[in-house]
């Protein structure tokens, strides 16, 4: 079955389909490759990687909530050197694009990672300026327009690959941040990262997470994410990668219609390891059934009515 109708182009990188996995939910693919065919994904977006190993937060790091979950992993990662040596060669065995999520505590941390990736065969860099669970860096760069534009322009100076700025929904107006990223030279934006939330154990009378707060994800956030993706797609002219609670093809199609050029599947991987692949197949069927011969025909279509 030909799926050429699913091809999309994000900042000059041609993906065989518009489906990737959300950073942090899929590691670097090594664990999920036993459960699903990662060559069927348009791209794999890897877990955030910093210049040096990060230990992350104390446990409990997750808590389930109604139709979703909270996490405060705190970006545990082995650092860029191990990532380049171990994870990139692993992913290169598969027929999929590689989007590397980059995190840092300071501007120079981000730049160090980006510089080390200069000659590494990865396709896109996603810059995490929106993690709500780390004390330094992360979201600190993502909540003011001036700092979003500044860090984007600084990273852009050193990056060989196109950069995607990953935006936080924990702001008054996400379109302001998206426009700032665009002004700073971003090649694309991705949204939304998780919404800051909380859960309390009423019997232990304490916070469910050691970090007290965590990022809310899963189907419960989808309407919020969809609204923000729509607003952002209307506000900028760089590609928007949409995510937030996508668990099936119908969800993904909503995001495409809202203006996302690509979608990411996150929390759904935990309860359906084949979610990404199912969504690719479902989008293809939808296009056939509804008389479209190119997925690009439906991107942003809802906004044009």
């Amino acid at each position: 079955m030909s799926m050429s109708r699913l091809k999309v182009n994000i900042a000059g990188v041609v993906m065989k389909n518009p489906v990737t996995v959300a950073s942090g939910t899929f590691g670097s693919g090594a664990e999920y490759c036993e459960l699903t065919d990662i060559s069927k994904l348009g791209a794999v977006t890897t877990k955030g990687v910093a210049n040096i190993p990060w230990a992350g937060n104390p446990v409990p790091r997750i808590a389930e909530t109604y139709g979703g979950m909270l996490n405060a992993i705190g970006l545990q990662n082995p650092g860029i050197d191990v990532f380049i040596k171990r994870d990139v060669p692993f992913l290169k065995q598969y027929d999929t694009k590689i989007i590397v999520n980059v995190c840092g505590k300071t501007e120079s941390d981000y730049i160090e990672v980006v510089e080390k990736l200069y000659d590494v065969p990865v396709d896109l860099l996603e810059i995490n300026i929106s993690c709500p669970n780390v004390k330094e860096g992360g979201i600190a760069f993502g909540q003011k327009a001036e700092s979003v534009e500044h860090i984007t322009s600084q990273i852009k100076k050193y990056a060989k690959q196109p950069i995607i700025m990953k935006l936080s929904p924990n702001v008054t107006d996400i379109t302001v941040m998206a426009k700032a990223a665009q002004a700073g030279g971003a090649d694309a934006v991705s949204l939304i990262n998780t919404l800051t939330g909380m859960k309390i154990d009423i019997y232990k009378r304490c916070f469910a997470l050691a970090n007290k707060t965590g990022g809310l994800s899963g189907p419960c956030i989808k309407p919020v994410a969809l609204r923000m993706v729509y607003q952002t797609a209307m506000a900028v002219n760089i590609p928007v990668i949409g995510m937030g609670g996508i668990s099936n093809a119908e969800d993904a199609i909503e995001f495409l219609l809202a203006g996302a050029s690509m979608v990411s599947v996150g929390t759904a991987n935990f309860y359906n390891p084949g979610a990404g692949v199912n969504i690719v197949e479902g989008i293809n069927e939808y296009l056939i059934d509804n008389g479209f011969n190119d997925v690009n025909q439906i991107i942003g279509l809802s906004g044009k009515w």
Partner: protein
């Protein structure tokens, strides 16, 4: 670290799902016919059960209690953790229901010990039954209960001597499993200890085994999301740098749940 075996997701057939016969009202037992997992399952490994209920997304990791003699079915003995919990939902699933699960996950207990003392506390008792069954040589068990009825005790007794303790003194020694070890003067020298239970119990046991230079394995529990080592939710502190992130935080689901006690910081 022990080597992890591959896991797959499977559709199982729920054969039986009943409240335990014991007085422990919140302990349930289920049998799932799932030959592909059952034939590979090793003692101490776990399965993750997908509830297929969209309000409760995450799979429930539950240790394997035993495998049927024909290796077609898994038996899980689990505690319903509260009102509205996923385990409560699981306990209401009827016989014949199709159930999705992933497994066998994680690393189990070593099988080469010839003199073993298994120490289980509360809902940490069921994960020790299959290893009690499969080990060769001398096997003893020390089981700690809250009170009420000593669930699974008679099944452990088929394979070796069983000592008990309970918080209220209604079963065996009044106190903890450590009290049972001391009061019964159980000689742990030359034995290998394998334990599963609450963290304070594992801490006390690790301290004791370190003091007397006794080999000890502990099975740990932590909240999990993916249960395959990708999400890094269920970590435990380790003495050495872990192989995945190089930060002294091993993954309970993938690198454990069974660890040599000297490798983890409890």
């Amino acid at each position: 670290m022990l080597k992890s075996s591959g896991y797959i997701t499977f559709h199982g057939n729920l054969q039986k799902n009943v409240q335990s016969q014991s007085v422990e009202g919140n302990i349930y037992e289920l049998w799932i016919e799932v030959p592909d997992i059952a034939k590979k399952a090793m003692p101490g490994q776990f399965v993750s059960i997908f509830l297929n209920d969209k309000s409760r997304l995450l799979p429930r990791p539950i240790s394997i209690c035993s495998v049927s003699s024909d290796k077609t079915s898994l038996r899980l003995v689990y505690r319903v953790t509260g009102k509205g919990s996923g385990t409560e939902f699981l306990s209401t699933m009827p016989r014949g229901a199709k159930i999705d699960l992933l497994g066998p996950a994680g690393n189990g207990f070593p099988l080469d010990s010839t003199d073993t003392v298994l120490i289980g506390g509360g809902i940490g008792i069921p994960p020790l039954l299959e290893i009690m069954k499969r080990l060769k040589g001398r096997r003893r068990a020390v089981l700690g209960y809250k009170g009420g009825s000593p669930f699974l005790k008679d099944e452990f007794e088929v394979y070796g001597r069983v000592y008990t303790a309970s918080d209220d003194g209604s079963i065996g020694v009044k106190g903890t499993v450590m009290d049972a070890v001391l009061k019964n003067e159980i000689d742990l020298n030359h034995a290998t200890v394998m334990a599963c239970g609450p963290l304070p119990m594992l801490r006390a046991l690790k301290e004791y085994c370190t003091l007397y230079d006794i080999k000890c394995y502990v099975s740990l529990e932590e909240r999990m999301a993916c249960s395959i080592g990708a999400c890094l939710a269920c970590v435990c502190n380790t003495v050495e740098k872990d192989s995945h992130s190089c930060v002294n935080n091993a993954r309970v689901c993938k690198d454990g749940p069974v660890f040599p006690a000297e490798e983890v910081v409890l």
